[in-house]
């Protein structure tokens, strides 16, 4: 187990370097951070050259990358457009997005798996068919459309919740944005667990459990569900990274000052340290979530053993 974890961590290194370099390349090679500092005005060449030297921008790209990564590992992510350090921005933004992601994942897991079990056990019945159609529709409507629609209905028309989230973003205000963020994944989780349950229902061990006279509830929760959850866990694990990155749209609709908001500001103002720093952290979260998923397999399926 320990050796397996170490090997996976080592395998992450090239992927981490590749992803961050790609983002670094896009931000630094395609945009011009110094020109962005001056907005529409043309910068004085001497000043521009000095800023370039201060920011290490006069070096070749790979040297800039190495320099930047060296600073990151010393905890220095650079300065954001408003003079705050990027680490400060992260300290305020990540807890907010983390709360939003937690709300979304909880909704996704609880509602998605419940619906999946319900329709998987009734494969081909009307409940199953209507749930399948419903999930297809949910998948087809883009997040920004459902976001504005639900915000309008619940926040404005019926006034059940606040249409926008306050800067502190407590959990109770994040329920509606969490639903919006979770909705598409929820549909995928429902479909995945439905397929998996419907396949496993015919398995020998389920028939054995029923023949032993176990109560139906126990057969479903202990025998069927545990074995059917593996694909669902894979999806949710990889989805955590996607949710944190994909929260840009949701955060924009509900005016949540989380990771997506800061990233969007960073991109709008062409502030490279903000963009690269946040994306780097997101890539790490994404890779760790994947590792966690692989380790969870062993918990869910005792047949899997890591050398």
């Amino acid at each position: 187990m320990g050796r397996y974890v170490i090997r996976r961590l080592l395998q992450m290194i090239p992927v981490f370097i590749g992803s961050t370099f790609l983002i670094f390349f896009m931000v630094y090679a395609l945009g011009d951070p110094v020109a962005a500092l001056f907005g529409d005005k043309a910068p004085d060449p001497a000043t521009a050259a000095r800023i370039r030297k201060d920011l290490y921008l006069d070096q070749p790209l790979w040297k800039q990358y190495v320099h930047y990564m060296g600073q990151i590992f010393q905890g220095d992510f650079g300065t954001a457009f408003n003079g705050q350090s990027v680490t400060d921005l992260m300290a305020t933004a990540f807890p907010v997005t983390l709360r939003l992601t937690i709300v979304a994942v909880v909704i996704e897991v609880v509602v998605g798996i419940t619906l999946g079990v319900v329709s998987g056990l009734r494969r081909g019945k009307s409940v199953d068919t209507s749930l399948l159609v419903l999930t297809l529709i949910v998948i087809s409507v883009p997040t920004f459309v459902t976001g504005y629609l639900l915000q309008y209905l619940f926040g404005v028309k019926w006034g059940w919740v606040r249409p926008t989230v306050s800067p502190d973003a407590p959990f109770n205000e994040l329920i509606l944005p969490g639903i919006v963020l979770a909705l598409v994944s929820l549909a995928y989780v429902t479909r995945l667990s439905r397929t998996s349950i419907a396949e496993n229902v015919k398995a020998d061990y389920v028939r054995t459990a029923v023949a032993k006279g176990l109560p139906r509830r126990r057969v479903v929760t202990r025998h069927l569900l545990r074995n059917s959850l593996i694909p669902v866990v894979t999806f949710i694990g990889t989805d955590i990274g996607a949710l944190m990155g994909g929260a840009i749209v949701t955060e924009r609709i509900f005016n949540i000052h989380g990771v997506g908001y800061q990233l969007y500001q960073g991109i709008l103002r062409n502030n490279s340290p903000t963009v690269v720093g946040f994306v780097t952290i997101l890539v790490i979260v994404f890779l760790l979530a994947n590792l966690l998923v692989d380790l969870l397999y062993a918990v869910l399926d005792p047949r899997i053993r890591y050398a």
């Binding site: 920004f144 694909p231 989805d239 994909g246 991109i267």
Partner: protein, 333 residues
């Protein structure tokens, strides 16, 4: 939606596979694959039965598709969308860029069933003309990603060795980048008003998914007896790949590409909504929805029609992909 990418961890990767004790046929890792991916194993060993009347997988699938109402509805819808993407004049006589500010945000009027937007442009005409951008981006991006992905993934799966390992790692790198984020970074520096930067970007981040599918299904297909037999008879790699492996490995790629087409259209709209996708004067549902969103309290019709058209288009392609998968996967029957 499309930011939800396929799992970055590839259970078919040989280097990682050895860490897991093989457990019976296939092993539990198979379950970790997406529904669509599970298809490739079924299709891999699907030679036409010699005993019964020879009907290939394709004619069999076509036979089933013709009876599937989901397929009929979605393909008619797609046919209609493609038609108005090519000739929007067929059903909309107006000019989408002709706007009359005095009619700003007015509701429906005779000859203008969907009303007017903030600029006083006819929402119906703009909704019809918006199909062109979405369909163009969807079709071109899917073709690009499918061709690039299946070529690279297929070759990697067929030849294996270091090329395969390299490709898998490169795919991992692209999987590590959240799609919407990458789009914001990459496209925010582009100033072109054509659809091509968006298409290029979607191909760039979309090919690894299709490469992974193609690789997996080629690996399954090349282990079949008839491939070994052909090799024993002296067939070269090119002939093996084109004549024996590719036809038996292409089905999962088609299924995933069809579903991906729908998600690419939604991705284009999301990027346009965020202001980095298509840009005016291109008529796009994403741009119109973005403009309408701030006015939803005064004029919800401005949002509903383009959003409805967009959702219906995405739904049509996803339904088509679903129907094709059901037809190509004999296990589900």
């Amino acid at each position: 939606m499309p930011e939800r990418d396929e799992p970055a961890y590839d259970p078919l990767q040989p280097g990682e596979g050895e860490a897991i004790a093989p457990t019976g046929q296939g092993g539990p890792m198979d379950l970790a694959l997406d529904e669509a991916e599970s298809l490739e194993k079924v299709l891999g060993d699907e030679p036409t039965g010699p005993a019964e009347k020879a009907r290939s997988l394709w004619s069999d699938a076509w036979h089933q598709l013709r009876r599937n109402p989901v397929f009929i509805v979605s393909s008619l819808l797609i046919l209609f969308l493609v038609l108005i993407a090519i000739w929007p004049q067929l059903i909309a006589s107006g000019d989408p860029l002709h706007c009359d500010l005095s009619k700003s945000q007015q509701g429906s009027a005779p000859g203008h069933p969907f009303g007017y937007d903030t600029q006083g442009c006819d929402v119906y005409t703009r909704t019809v003309y918006g199909a062109r951008a979405s369909i163009t981006v969807g079709v071109c991006a899917t073709l690009g990603a499918a061709l690039l992905g299946s070529a690279l993934g297929g070759l990697a799966g067929f030849f294996g060795h270091w090329g395969d390992a390299l490709l898998s790692r490169i795919a991992d790198i692209f999987f590590g980048i959240p799609v919407v984020l990458g789009g914001l970074v990459f496209l925010s520096v582009v100033t072109s008003t054509t659809v091509w930067p968006v298409v290029g970007f979607i191909v760039l981040l979309g090919w690894p998914q299709l490469a992974r599918i193609a690789r997996g299904s080629v690996i399954t297909a090349k282990q079949n007896d008839y491939v070994q037999a052909a090799r024993a008879l002296g067939a070269g790699n090119t002939r093996l790949l084109l004549r024996h492996v590719a036809p038996n490995a292409v089905a999962p790629v088609i299924v995933v590409a069809t579903i991906a087409l729908g998600t690419y259209i939604a991705l284009e709209a999301t990027l346009s909504f965020l202001g980095v996708g298509l840009r005016p004067p291109t008529v796009s549902w994403g741009i119109d929805i973005s403009n309408a969103a701030s006015q939803i309290r005064n004029a919800p019709h401005m949002l509903l029609y383009p959003a409805g058209a967009l959702s219906l288009t995405v739904l049509a392609f996803i339904m088509l992909g679903d129907a094709v998968r059901d037809a190509l996967d004999p296990k589900l029957r």
